[in-house]
Amino acid sequence: MTEKTVKDGLNRRKFLKGVIATGPVVAVSLSNRASSEQNPKNQTGSLAAPSGHVEAMERAAPEGYTDDQLKRYFIEHPGSDVMVDALKQLDIDYIASNPGSTFRGLQESIVTYGGNKKPEFLTCLHEETSVAMAHGYAKIAGKPMAVVCHGTVGLQHASMALYNAWCDRVPVVVIAGNHLDATHRAHQVSWAHSVQDTALIVREFIKWDDTPVSLQHFLESLVRSYKIATTPPMGPVVLTADAELQEGAIGQQRLKIPRLSPTIPPLGDSAALAEAARLLVEAERPLILVDRMARTAAGVEHLVVLAEALQAPVIDRLGRMNFPTDHYLFQLSRSRELIAQADVILGLEMTDMWGSIHRLLDLAQHEEQGVARPDVKLITLGVGDLYLKSNYQNFSRYTPVDLSIAGDAEVSLPLLSEEVKRRTSRTRVSYLTDRERNLRLTYRQMREKDQQAAKYAWDASPVSTARLCMELWQQIKNRDWSLVSDPIFQSYWPQRLWKINRHHQYIGGSGGYGVGYGAPAAVGAALANREHGRLSVNIQSDGDLMYAPGVLWTAAHHHIPLLSILHNNRAYHQETMHLQRMALRRRRGIAGNANIGTTIDQPAIDFAQMAKSMGVWSTGPISDPAELASALRKAISVVEQGEPAVIDVVCQPR
């Protein structure tokens, strides 16, 4: 062994101290909850002591080798070890991945040097699964999960899931392996897995990317990428980890992992918020629209305070759990009527304000209809205007508004509520009391109407989506549960019939409507729920599951408790309806043609067998609604023992 190598080995502890203790560490979080659970030791500026795996590496060089042989065969202190140190410092609990050679160095450091804890390597069977798991996880955990993949074929697989995360404003930290140095590409596989500009193919739908050329560069960019991803409007980031940096020795470099400086979300301008308050207080029929607003439970509480201060009904676009469904101001099923009546509408973190106050009818000649009053005053509050890109058009149609306030709605709401209260006169209070009485009445009527609607086709086979949701509700309502799927295809029955009043009880949808999000996002969210002992519930579309069904294996392998109930309509049913519409518009025969290319049948997929083959408890297909309750009870008992379970239910289309 050379003197340098021995010295490096003996000075390992000193080196780590130099790398890690570079200043106070502030673990960033998306949520107040996560913030409050930080390791206090981190806040004082020192990372937890190195694991036993680190100690094990402080060893002498193997005997019986010449210096040249040592150089030829061994690397001491690879660069990927310090990458793991940085991931630990960022408090990243998991890193989802389908294994690949361009990041073999990092993977080895994670599972060996890092002890496969913080982050734990999650074995995924597709990169789209990795990112979608991270997407769902972040919405429950309140912080990002990391993903590592090939910079070429892996990132290509991951791209659609990144687009969903981008549209849904969810942070995901992707590390992409690559071989930058052409002279180090050993064979054709290495060449095929090398790229000049790793993030190029996803750059239009991520917030930031970088390709570090040194370890110090990597460390700084990793911390920066985390900071950018978690600053509203949040979004995914991609950081290239060159194989040379991972696999080469750290040597004598004095590396520093920079302290994370979380960005305080922007508060709306106080004068603008005061003007918004004036408009809302003076309104006869104020209305609140909300989409991707509540990042935390505090966001829900803030919105309740504002809505009650105004006695304004809330139409939740369900991008997040924003407002309790058992609150009398939650009036989802009255949205058309309320939007048509409103004289002032406040939109909070809205993605599609135009689409909320207009209709564009999908007829032979597109017809545009205004839903809102022509004299309605529009106010928007959100961060959507602060970071946009051009190519992908998920920003929706331009909407002229009367007062557009740039600011994070969750942190701005308390100030707005205070202004509303300050401006509400005593005479106005009695008026608000009358409005409250009316809104309580319309809420009760709306709920009764929804309950009545659920009765139709109650005993039908295939099972109605209302029956499915109500049978499920009966089983979960007295537990600590979390709905980790988007109920759009179940006609929003959970929001219309259940009591959803805690932030973790609903996580919104995919964002980009990219099919294949549902199952892996549910598994990721269930992973985050696991440490809280919550029952994660996923009403799973059949077509979505078949994009990457291997996530069921990942759930079984990592013992992620998740109850998945297949809403199995044996079709990409939305597309069936589209095809039907085209045929009718063209006055062509339709007998059965709308099912060509849109149904998933002949043969019907046996989801229970598929899940079973991957080690997941399962039952079905169930077509008789009378069998649901028993199946649910059995499945929940499996989930409560810490394992996933699947029930295949043959259902009505919507």
Partner: protein
Amino acid sequence: MSDFLQNLSCYHSQASRVLFCLLIVVWSSCGVANAADADKNDDWMFIKYGCYQCHGYLGQGSLLSGPRIAPSALPYEAFTEIVRRPYGVMPAYAPDVLDQKALENIYRYLKSIKPESSKPETE
């Protein structure tokens, strides 16, 4: 036509279950191109012309795709008018695509659907 859809009609109406199972035998032997015999069946028309897609197999409707259309007290003339010249986003069914006889089948099917008696618990 998928197995699933061919068999659906057996499920969605207790009253028509036996009739439709018999129909399936006819259907299977004739193939899609010779489905004229199947047109006699009211509930099959409801499926064949895709009404179920937006309104559900029992016409129960969905907040997402289409309103409830059964049970319905809508007179036949008004029903015909809505199908031929719908308001909102519903696509129009022209007479050369959906003839009057098939429309009558569908109307009869919707009329045959009775209110469900079960009441879900929501609290």
